[in-house]
Symmetry: C2
Amino acid sequence: MLVLHHLGKSQSERIVWLLEELGLPYELVHHTRDATTMLSPPALQALHPLGAAPVIVDDGLMLAESGAIVQYLLGRYGGDSRLAPAPDHPDFAPYLYWFHFANGNLQAHMGRNMMLKRLDLPADDPVLVSARGRLDRALRLMDDRLAASPFLAGQALTAADIMTVFTLTTMRYFYPLDLAPYPAIRAYLQRIGGLDGYRRAMAKGDPGMPLLLD
Amino acid sequence: MLVLHHLGKSQSERIVWLLEELGLPYELVHHTRDATTMLSPPALQALHPLGAAPVIVDDGLMLAESGAIVQYLLGRYGGDSRLAPAPDHPDFAPYLYWFHFANGNLQAHMGRNMMLKRLDLPADDPVLVSARGRLDRALRLMDDRLAASPFLAGQALTAADIMTVFTLTTMRYFYPLDLAPYPAIRAYLQRIGGLDGYRRAMAKGDPGMPLLLD
């Protein structure tokens, strides 16, 4: 059976959610961050050289990197899943754009801002101002998209949403970001929070954790 | 005809290279960074809200984000390209891993270190030490892989290499990184530099620019 190594409060919630949407059987192995450093624990460091989560083990094959795992599971077990529009589908290009935007842009800018926060720079430091500006532009682009479309790729939930939602929700435990300037993102997160697959995944992956959907 | 908007000395060289490997006809539109700020010029800002490069225009459809463009071109025009191993190919999982590692890990850590360099922090600053450590671990993982395999996915060039090489070469114009500790990466870059498709792409995209293959 497919095994998913899940680190609590981390981007591996993406894979729990995907597996719930696909309805695949899997064994969920829970890992917890070090309470002081917030780093991943020795068990994950032993599993993968970067101590990364998520990691899946499928028929003896080990795979990390959430974008890779999503494409692997969709390619191997997704069939012609609605979660990944095919090349002849009108949502193919926007699907790919937002799928890659998740790590290539949004998560990258959140990560940089989270790192800069540790340095406690003055508010007018040009590096900080630039990093905040880039994050704001990424969020505004997403807000414009979600004002016009219920999900990122179009009318239906896809793996682009599954890649994106963590950065807008659980990651705010580490970088508190006020979403008030982005009303369409907030409305989107409310829609996501109403999805059975998402709720099941979060209850299994991080039981009891309040969801930062607002 | 497919149009590629290419920003000189940028990650859009990935798409020039992919198009050369696929042998697709395309129109290459050159853009140049502002000589002082190194930011993308007004023409790119007018084309896309983030001023991003690469951007392609295909039959009226505009698409940015290099990972998305690579998957789009492979999905629409790649056929059963050797550049993207299929789900039943033994290189499928490593292909996906390194494809997503490029932006999700290596490029993210290079970008953070490049940003921190602007702050001129003391060498023992813990944020700087952590950022450098993470980049080093990413490079060591890649070095181990390339000591055992001529290309990232396996025996043959794939889009995972096309996503990765920019960060190890041209990006070092902005973040000078010594590759001496990573001999397998250096040998890999020499192999890449010998490929006709790569040489054609670099000559078209950034004519006259010395290639940082060492």
